[in-house]
């Protein structure tokens, strides 16, 4: 359905490596810089891109991503501008899957049907909406699938085997495993626990499993890449961006480069990983 996400994971499965999934916040620190960062990400080694939709009250995010959202809102970011940013990126890059990630209220207020139509038109491939569990599938998940967008669900350490089928029921594109109980940017997970969790998820689904939360550098990225189909990095990138800003929080000539350098480094980590648990390539 969302061919870009599926083809990208299939392609990577053939090369026997995990995907590097990078998160950046739309409009952080301003729309122009944000657009430049997006366009530079694939070249630097990002295989998939999650683009954050800023929200005032991100209840599952840690301080780094909260601050990124507030910087973006301060610079005038809105959902309409995030969609325009996505469209601009898509005009520049036809291959890299783009997933919008955020909270439900701005989408609900924008209007679900209007949002889905415009997101599809902008070349968005999927959605991650943190505060929509399977119990609320009728809100956005089912309409998104009808509109031809993937709905990527989060599974967590508290998602037990009894609940997993409900979580997987309408998940498409990939499954995002949140490796800790906690907020974004928290401590790194124990490697062995992640490996066991990914193995458990794979018994329930053929979807690629990407793992996020707590991945900070090439080393931790490589560790996750050795057991999962994808490594999601968010807070570390957003922090690198913050450190590149001037005292008033404005972009500097170093801002885009700061992100690119870290993504290059993370990509090296991901590509160096030995894929002991690699899934058999079923797409060939």
């Amino acid at each position: 359905m969302s061919s870009r996400i599926e083809s990208r994971f299939a392609e990577l499965a053939r090369s026997r490596r995990a995907a590097l999934v990078t998160f950046v916040m739309a409009g952080d620190p301003d729309l122009e810089t944000s657009g430049a960062i997006l366009k530079a990400l694939p070249q630097a080694g990002a295989d998939l891109i999650e683009l954050g939709m800023p929200f005032t009250d991100p209840m599952a995010d840690g301080p780094a991503i909260q601050a990124a959202g507030l910087r973006a809102l301060k610079s005038g970011a809105t959902l309409a501008k995030t969609l325009a940013l996505a469209a601009d990126f898509r005009a520049h890059d036809r291959q890299t899957p783009l997933i919008l990630m955020g909270y439900y209220n701005p989408i609900y207020v924008y209007g679900v049907d209007r949002f889905l139509a415009e997101a599809k038109k902008a070349g968005v491939d999927g959605l991650i909406v943190v505060d929509l569990p399977p119990e609320e599938d009728a809100e956005l998940c089912l309409p998104a699938i009808d509109a031809g967008l993937s709905f990527v669900r989060l599974a967590t350490p508290t998602t037990d085997s009894a609940r997993l089928p409900a979580v997987l029921a309408h998940t498409s594109g990939f499954l995002y495993y949140v490796s800790i109980t906690g907020i974004t940017g928290a401590a790194a997970p124990e490697h062995a626990k992640v490996a066991a969790a990914v193995a458990r998820l794979r018994r329930h689904t053929d979807l690629p499993v990407a793992v996020g939360f707590g991945v900070k550098n090439a080393e931790s990225a490589a560790a996750i890449a050795s057991v999962a189909d994808g490594v999601v990095v968010g807070s570390a990138l957003v922090e690198a961006l913050r450190k590149s800003l001037d005292q008033s929080g404005k972009a500097t000539p170093q801002t885009v480069g700061a992100i690119v350098d870290l993504v290059r480094d993370l990509a090296k980590g991901v590509r160096s990983a030995e894929r002991g648990f690699a899934r058999a390539d079923t797409s060939a």
Partner: protein
């Protein structure tokens, strides 16, 4: 009764207003369970435990015992004689309702909050949770939670916006004294909504050990229904007390609304007595055309903190800061059942400004020797305006949901007399 359409939504008028929510936690289109996956299994677990506790007579017996001996229930239904005279003088003597106060401010810890907290803490004990977290605005819910945790020897962490820590210092001292850890929240706007965000972040992180004791009829299902049920003791007592005092039900009910728990507790037992007029009073802050905290009057439906309800927000769905002189009403949302009761027309929602609340606060202190919290002073402001329009045999009840000790500095600041 003909129903006005609210924002294109035409809610069905049910046979009973007391059967909600449905099994998914919905009151009409409001409510629900909009939370991160990490929390979902816990919320389902909480719902199962709450349902079991509700069916268990020993749970109710234990709670009733505490309410009697620890809280001091039943709280009196008090005839406010001089305030009634005041209303009748305003009406020229021919009219003017008989004004009663439901004295929730006499509860242990000085507000209605303890009713709900004891229920939730007993539930937490049944679930084997040893660590309790709470959010607080004015500090009343934080104090109540800290109190119950002290009594039961539980660890207690209270999240409070840094702005509220400043303006409600007496309650911060009380919580510290009770052994709770008060965490000033520096994120976002640093008030109640941010305290709730931070409590949710704590809960997501400490799911195994922690029980989140929410202070109002909001949040993901089952909280709005559970908190309401624990607060219904207010309305049930009022019913019995008014029958004893006057031989019939009251004619009108008034309560202030931030999240809306004291109001829901008073209103719910009367919702199917259609002749009883019910008024909820939101905080109009500087005025409804300026900064305020009246989500129903000035907001529209959205999704925040686990439920769909009326929210103050901008065009883009970004949550806006409310303003009220009262920290307890300064929340940009409202319980989902209130949103539904507004749309069905069963409850009439009004508002009172900071200045109106201050005037009512002073009037009540001078005429009745009762210093109300600024929160119920909002309800009082509308009640003393409407009372003179009612006949002399009209029985009016104001929920005196908290006492005003915590607000003395705020009031002194505004009146310029320290």
């Amino acid at each position: 009764m003909t129903m006005k359409e609210a924002g294109g939504i035409k809610p069905e008028i049910p046979n009973s207003f007391r059967t909600g929510p449905d099994e998914h936690g919905h009151f009409g289109i409001y409510g629900g369970r909009f939370v991160a996956e990490t929390l979902m299994p816990l919320i389902l677990d909480l719902e199962r435990h709450y349902e079991a506790a509700r069916q268990d007579s020993s749970f109710k017996a234990e709670l009733d015992h505490l309410l009697t001996h620890y809280v001091g229930r039943p709280s009196p239904l008090y005839f406010a004689e001089r305030l009634t005279e005041h209303a009748r003088e305003k009406a020229g003597g021919a009219r003017g309702a008989k004004i009663y106060f439901k004295r929730e401010e006499l509860n242990h810890t000085g507000a209605h909050k303890i009713n709900n907290v004891l229920g939730q803490i007993l539930l937490a004990r049944r679930m084997g949770k040893k660590r309790i977290i709470a959010e607080t605005g004015a500090g009343q819910h934080g104090v109540a939670t800290a109190t119950a945790c002290a009594k039961f020897g539980l660890e207690c962490v209270v999240y409070m916006g840094a702005v509220d820590v400043e303006r409600q210092k007496p309650n911060v001292f009380r919580m510290n004294m009770l052994g709770a850890k008060v965490v000033p929240v520096l994120s976002g706007a640093r008030t109640l909504k941010d305290a709730m965000n931070e409590a949710l972040r704590d809960w997501v992180t400490n799911v195994e050990t922690t029980f989140y004791c929410i202070g109002t009829v909001a949040g993901p299902h089952p909280y709005p229904a559970m908190v309401r049920d624990f607060q219904c003791v207010i309305g049930e007592e009022t019913r019995a007390q008014m029958l004893a005092a006057e031989g019939r039900l009251p004619d009108s009910l008034f309560a202030c609304i931030g999240g809306g728990s004291n109001a829901m507790g008073l209103f719910h037992p009367f919702l199917d007595d259609r002749q009883v007029e019910i008024y909820g009073v939101e905080a109009a802050g500087y005025g409804l055309d300026k900064k305020h905290a009246a989500s129903l009057a000035g907001g529209r439906p959205g999704v925040l903190h686990g439920n769909r309800t009326y929210l103050l927000m901008d065009e883009d769905g970004q949550i806006e800061e409310g303003h009220s002189i009262s920290a307890g009403l300064d929340y940009p949302g409202i319980g989902p059942e209130h949103a539904w009761l507004k749309e069905t027309g069963r409850v009439t929602y009004l508002s009172a400004t900071d200045d109106e609340a201050l005037a009512a606060f002073q009037l009540c202190a001078k005429l009745e020797g009762i210093i109300p919290a600024l929160e119920p002073a909002h309800a009082l402001a509308r009640a003393i305006e409407i009372a003179p329009q009612k006949p002399r045999d009209h029985l009016l009840v104001v929920n005196m949901s908290g006492r005003g000790d915590k607000d003395l500095f705020t009031v002194a600041d505004h009146l310029g007399g320290m």
